[in-house]
Every structure is written in structure tokens, then in C-alpha cells.
């Protein structure tokens, strides 16, 4: 397990977000401003372009650079949120061996970055509603002796459940919050893209 696995993850995630760009935008047009798919696709294509040009000695440097690229290219609220996630994830991995435990610490650091940037609470109908159960599932799997791939699989499954659970919620953050009760009945686009990224991690990191 080394930097190549993380390169595969980001490439796979870019492919998945590209395939789902129209779907994400459709979700966003119901409760947001109809640009989440296009913004995520543009950002991750820029990450792929960066990967084509650069080689990295460590996963920490790779993730930090991916974070900076997303901050620069995505825009909206998703740019700072996903950018901060990867920046903090990378920073937490500096000098560490890549084990399920250290990667878990990295994921936690990334999600704490999302919390600091967006100040969401559980149930606000945001990407955090996918991240939070994913981290719990990951921690439980690692504590039970699972390997990385299995733990990430559990995290992705939990994220998908969290994503589905956003449907009845009333949004309290972001542009969707202006809809009030009218935001209920729609799946959150951010929780959806988070789930895609974690599903991609489960496919590629092991």
C-alpha cells in the first residue's frame, strides 16, 4: 500500500464524479443552484490533470496538492469543503506509515476540517450527514480487526445510508436552507458526492 493506491483512488473518484455529474446537478437543481455536478467534475478533472503531470513521493503530499487543486477549481461551497478535507487528510498523514489506523486518523482530520469550515450539525442536510456515519463505521470495523478495504467498504455503506436519510430532512445550511420546508423530500447533493468518493476509496484502497 503506497502512494499509487491514492493516485488510483483520485482517478477512480474523478471518473465516478464525471459519470454522475448530470445526476448531481439534477439533485442540486431541486434544492440548490444546479452546479454541483459541473463544479465537482471540473475540480476532479483538474486533479487528474495534475496527477498526469506530477509524481509524488508520499500520499501526504499527493492529498495536499489534490486539496489545493480542488480549492482552486471547484468554487461554490464544495471547493473549500472538499479542498479542506483533502488538505487536512494529507497533513495528518505526513511522516506516518499507511495503516488502517493512520488512514482513519487522516479521515477524521479531514472531516474535522469540513466541520471547521462549514459548521454543520448532524441532520442539517449536508455532506456531513454522510461523513459522520462513515467515520463511525470505519472506526468500528478497524477496532474489530478489519483490513483497510473492508473498513472503507463499511464506511461507504454507512455513507450511502446517511445520504438516503437526508431525503426527508429540512436543510439548515447552504442555499437549500432558504427553501425551508420545501427542501424536504430531496436528496442532498453534497452527501451524494461524498458517498461516491468513499465508494471509490473502497474500490481502490486496500
Amino acid at each position: 500500500m503506497g502512494v499509487d493506491s491514492f493516485v488510483s483512488w483520485l482517478r477512480d473518484a474523478a471518473g465516478s464524479l464525471h459519470e454522475n455529474a448530470a445526476y448531481l446537478t439534477e439533485l442540486d437543481s431541486a434544492i440548490g443552484d444546479a452546479d454541483h455536478g459541473a463544479n465537482m467534475d471540473r475540480g476532479f478533472q483538474a486533479v487528474v490533470g495534475m496527477l498526469d503531470e506530477t509524481s509524488f513521493g508520499g500520499a501526504d503530499e499527493l492529498l495536499k496538492k489534490a486539496g489545493m487543486t480542488l480549492v482552486s477549481k471547484v468554487g461554490g461551497a464544495s471547493g473549500p469543503l472538499y479542498g479542506t478535507f483533502f488538505l487536512r487528510f494529507g497533513t495528518a498523514l505526513a511522516g506516518a506509515d499507511l495503516t488502517p489506523e493512520t488512514i482513519g486518523k487522516g479521515l477524521h482530520a479531514g472531516v474535522e476540517g469540513v466541520l471547521a469550515r462549514g459548521k454543520p450539525e448532524l441532520g442539517d442536510k449536508t455532506m456531513y450527514d454522510a461523513w459522520a456515519p462513515a467515520l463511525d463505521a470505519y472506526d468500528a470495523a478497524v477496532a474489530g480487526g478489519s483490513d483497510l478495504g473492508t473498513a472503507l467498504g463499511a464506511a461507504a455503506e454507512a455513507a450511502a445510508k446517511g445520504r438516503d436519510a437526508t431525503i426527508p430532512l429540512v436543510a439548515r445550511k447552504g442555499r437549500a436552507s432558504y427553501l425551508g420546508e420545501r427542501s424536504a423530500g430531496h436528496q442532498d447533493p453534497g452527501a451524494t458526492s461524498t458517498t461516491l468518493i468513499l465508494e471509490s476509496a473502497a474500490r481502490t484502497l486496500s
Binding site: 452546479d35 459541473a38 471547484v74 471547493g79 473549500p80 432558504y178
Partner: protein
Amino acid sequence: MGGMKKLINDPADVVSEALQGMAAAHPDRLRVDLENRIVYRKDAPRPGKVGLISGGGSGHEPMHGGFVGLGMLDAACAGEVFTSPVPDQMMAATKAVDAGAGVLHIVKNYTGDVMNFEMAAELAAADAGTEVLSVVTNDDVAVQDSLYTAGRRGVGVTVLLEKIVGAAAEEGRPLQEVADLARRVNDNGRSMGMALTSCTVPAAGKPTFELAENEMEVGIGIHGEPGRQRLPLAPAREIAAMLVDPVVSDLPYQQGDSVIAFVNGMGGTPLLELYLMYHEVAQLLDRAGITVARSLVGNYITSLEMAGCSVTLLKADDELVRLWDAPVNTPGLRWGA
């Protein structure tokens, strides 16, 4: 609903081609960094002067690029249509306008704008040691439940603030004083808007929302965010009251208060109708015993081709009126210079 009918070449090029147009139209006043999508005052940075930067999604013209120039902004960062610019742009602008007196970021309260400007301020401070303060405008009274939403949106007051604070910065006031003044303007201003029609983001190609022929949306945001209620179309007199009453009662503005009154067009409503609306607004204020010290009528913070208007009131003491009257020379607002 038919196809999109716009004066464009390719939806992907709208923002960069419009910026090229600004550069070509105003070479005497502006310098445009097309790569970073930043409109600069031609003579920035001005020695000893606090740098004023704003920015946001495109589609609200003349805000913000049209408010760059003497007595207003030093730089404006343009995002995609209705999408926040990114921290790289704000950092580049911050470094370019800092003449040693620090930089004020003027940010409208939208989740994306606030986060991107926050990151830019952190990065600029870590990188170049530039002192950056920020003020967030949030004057839209249509957002009632601000505890359970992203908060009140920044709308019309942003225009008045950029003019007034621009005049103060031009006088050479220090950063903290300029930031305090900006917060005072925001605290004393309130707005409410309405839409007669939707608008079409070029990249989306279809209207952001649907509004029937006989309907209007009261309390709309500048990106087509929904308002307080959707109502049957009414005479201008009634619409004026629907906008003025919630604004007046929110601060509240009281008998004997003096205000700057601003009737803003959303982009698709003719000046004829905006002046008609201003007449209604002025009568309502007169009846409430509120004196209009200064007024502004026109399309200044727009929402593409949306038809409709907003009303902004700013409680103004002598100092604010004096700063309002100070010379300004920008593509969007010009007097005394």
C-alpha cells in the same frame, strides 16, 4: 418555454468575454487580469490607502466589477455565473492592492462566498503577512428564520456600503476604522426584493425557477432563491408596500429617521417602472415620517435578466451622507469626479 435567447457566443465563455469587454470599454479606469478574472482599479495599489476588495458570482452586473475605481473598490473577483470566485483569485487581488495599509474584504453572505473569502484571508495572512479584515453583508429581511438557515443574504446594502466605505478609504482612514464603518453601514441597512420573472443561467440553458404569467415571488434572492411567498401579480402600489413595510419594521426605521433610499432593478425591468416604484416608495416613507436624504434608482445589483426590483433603506447620519456625496468614478456609479 422556448430555448435560451441571449447575446452570447458559447455559454462557457460568457464571463471571460464580458471581462474582455470591460477591459476594452474602460481602459482609462480599469485593468483586467483575464487569467485570474480580477478587475483592478487602474492605479492600484494606492500608497497609504486601505485596499478594498469584493467579488462574487457573475450575473449581478454592474456589481462588483462595475464598482471598481476612484472612491469605491480597488479590485473585484468574478466567479462563474452565480458561483463564488475561488481563494486563488482573492489572494492574488489581496496581494496586488495591498499598499501596506491592509485590505478589507467585502463579502455578501452566501455560504460559498464566505468560505472562499475565509480561506483566502487565512492563506494571504500566512503567505504574505498581509493584514486582512472582512465584513459580511446580510441585509435581506426576506430570510426570516436566520437561525435555521445560512442566514440573511447580502443584497442591496452591498452597493451602498462599497460606495460609502470606498470614500472613507480614499480619505486615507486606517483599516480598522474602515472595517468598523463597513459594519456600521451593514447594521443600519435592510432590503427586500421581488421578482416578476425567472432568469436563465447560460450554462444551465433553462430558467432557474418557473413563475406563471399571473404570479410574482416576494422576498426573492439575487440567484432566484425562493422568497417568503408566491402571490398573484398586484399593482405597483401594493408591491411597494410589501417591500417597504417589512424593511421599515425590521430595523426599525422610525419617524424622524433620515435614510438613503435605493430602488434597484433586477436586470429586466425598465427604468420607467423603477421610477414609478420609487414614487410609491417615497410616498410610503413620507407617510411614515422618514426623510429621504439621498436616493439611488437603477440596475445596480442584478440577477441576469430577471424582471423585478428590490428596496434598500440605509439609516444615514451626516457622516454617511457626506461619504455618499464624495467623488466616485467607476463604470457603474459616477459623480463629482
